[in-house]
């Protein structure tokens, strides 16, 4: 049994469906993480300062990764059809990839919504046309 003490995400207000007190209690009472921290601190193996430093370092690392990921392009478009099966690729996957290739050849540059969308992908769909 696990219990989430935060809101699920920035879009979630969990107090709409569970009492605030229940969450507060879970944070304090019988919380294995809190208990473990107290145990470590009681042995002198951990401290509030170290905790704060760790939090800052991890948060910074996550945010840096996050920002970097946001600048990356989407994967190459042909990857939509890979890793559906291992081994020999079935005919339907092969033919459907060909079908999309045909559509991209025809409309990929002519149709603005597709042209703009393709720019978001690594290789802009060109690798699919060359497959």
């Amino acid at each position: 049994m696990t219990y989430r003490v935060g809101h699920h995400s920035t879009s979630d207000d969990s107090f709409a469906y569970r009492p605030r007190q229940e969450v507060e209690d879970r944070k304090r009472l019988d919380n294995p993480i809190a208990r473990f921290r107290l145990f470590l601190e009681s042995r002198g193996w951990w401290s509030a300062d170290e905790e704060e430093a760790l939090k800052t370092r991890l948060k910074d690392a996550v945010m840096r990764s996050f920002r970097r990921a946001e600048t990356l392009k989407k994967p190459e478009l042909h990857e939509m059809f890979t890793e559906v099966y291992g081994g020999e690729e079935p005919w339907n996957i092969k033919e459907q990839r060909e079908e999309l290739k045909g559509l991209l050849k025809k409309y990929g540059q002519a149709w603005e919504p597709w042209r703009n969308e393709l720019k978001k992908y690594k290789g802009e769909g060109k690798e699919l046309l060359e497959d």
């Binding site: 879009s11 469906y17 569970r18 229940e22 990857e79 996957i93 459907q96 990839r97 149709w111 597709w114």
Partner: protein, 426 residues
């Protein structure tokens, strides 16, 4: 003592994914950004009825009036209210609970209003004995519903996402569908209706985007219904709830907020197993259901009003072609007569659905139509579908059939004939 939390990560993940940043549970405003994303073609769709007059004249509408107990056909004096699709669905369930003392609604989080708000306020209005949460077990929800229905209760179950109906597959296919047959009609689960949000929204990934209707095609004994708009959703849901068979009611989730109509406030039904012709035509039949109906509308528009950039791909001779657009509405058992009649007139059929092609509903329909209309067909039946891959989060724009792919299929279906004629004539 703590009350065990009935939520798991998955249910909350689902909630979060569909809630806009600024929204809160108790809000009833309909003005905010659509939960599932935007569908541009909806804002200009001619299929949505923005006035009371057009709403009350919805084709096939059957008023279910309390005072007589019979269905009357009187339009005057009836009122409508502006609703989006989730409000229309809520309205239908509210009517079901009001008129049918045996009706109950249950599912994950429905007592709080449901992740898409379809049951908002129903628990407060009708009591928690009639609108209640279940544990996170789709098989349990379906089984519980079958039991209730077989004891004569009207069971309205919600599976939080159609993607999660698969744990209930055994209950639906082996129990609900076969109940009547295996008891020689002594018992049935006909009072069961299972609602589930389905289809894609643009960012749902593998598990919040699927259209599983095809998996139920072989489960004779159940019906599968998919509405395209608020008016349709209310009338078809009430008909589904009252149908003597278990019905799976799949609600295209992108339409919950983005489709808005004047919806009649009275009790009414729309017929199950009847397709609806949305645009009459004589040259090609375009068949779809749910969200892609609107992409079809855009494609038909693009055919007659071809944008300059697409002019090289759409022969000018085709721009006056009359495409007939049909919303199938019921997937099982589907309206074979309407589709056959149309294709016999037009000689061409293009079927559009979001689910993958292999084993999809389009394959079933094209087999039947090619059998019935073979000598009338001027071109092979063409399918515009998702590819046979999981719905890919990163590639959804090039996975789902869009207006351009539909337009291309329409042009190709015409073009094949022109090329053949050309060969014959020269």
């Amino acid at each position: 003592m703590f009350t065990p939390n009935r939520f798991t990560y998955r249910s909350l993940e689902k909630i979060a994914q569909y809630y806009c940043r600024s929204r809160r549970w108790q809000s009833t405003s309909t003005e905010a950004h659509p939960a599932g994303g935007h569908l541009p073609s909806l804002s200009t769709s001619n299929f949505l009825k923005p006035t009371r007059e057009s709403s009350l004249r919805t084709p096939g509408i059957r008023w279910v009036d309390e005072d007589t107990g019979h269905m009357r056909d009187i339009v005057s004096g009836r009122e409508t209210r502006k609703m989006n699709m989730y409000q229309a669905i809520r309205d239908a369930m509210s009517i079901a609970l009001t008129k049918d003392d045996t009706a109950v609604i249950f599912g994950e989080d429905v007592a709080f209003g449901g992740v898409f708000r379809c049951t908002m306020g129903l628990a407060e209005e009708f009591g928690r004995e009639r609108v209640f949460n279940t544990p996170l077990t789709e098989q349990g929800i379906a089984g519980f519903g079958i039991g209730l229905a077989s004891m004569g209760q009207t069971a309205i179950a919600e599976i939080q996402f159609a993607d999660y109906i698969f744990p209930a597959f055994d209950q639906i296919v082996n129990e609900a569908a076969k109940f009547r047959f295996r008891s020689s009609g002594q018992f049935n689960a006909g009072k069961l209706t299972i609602r589930c949000p389905s289809m894609a929204v643009g960012h749902g990934g593998h598990y919040h985007s699927q259209s599983p209707e095809g998996f139920f095609m072989g489960a004779s004994g159940i019906k599968v219904v998919i509405p395209r708009s608020p008016i349709q959703a209310k009338g078809l849901l009430l008909a589904s709830i009252r149908d003597p068979n278990p019905v799976i009611f799949m609600e295209p989730k992108i339409l919950y907020r983005s489709s808005v109509e004047q919806v009649p406030i009275d009790d009414y039904e729309l017929p199950i197993s009847r397709a609806e012709t949305l645009i009459p035509g004589s040259d090609l039949t375009l068949l779809s259901w749910g969200t892609p109906v609107y992409h079809c509308e855009s494609a038909v528009h693009m055919l007659s009003n071809t944008p300059d950039s697409l002019a090289p791909f759409v022969p000018s001779s085709l721009r006056s072609a009359k495409v007939e657009l049909i919303d199938l509405r019921t997937i099982l058992p589907w309206d074979v007569e309407a589709v056959t009649e149309s294709v016999k007139r037009t000689g061409r059929l293009v079927i559009v659905h979001e689910a993958g092609r292999t084993g999809g509903v389009g394959a079933e329909i094209s087999a039947e139509i090619q059998k019935r209309c073979f000598l009338k067909l001027s071109a092979p039946v063409k399918l515009v579908t998702g590819w046979d891959t999981p719905v890919p989060m990163q590639f959804e724009k090039f996975y789902m059939p869009d207006a351009l792919r539909i337009l291309d299929a329409v042009v190709e279906t015409f073009g094949g004939v022109l090329r053949r004629l050309f060969v014959i004539c020269t």
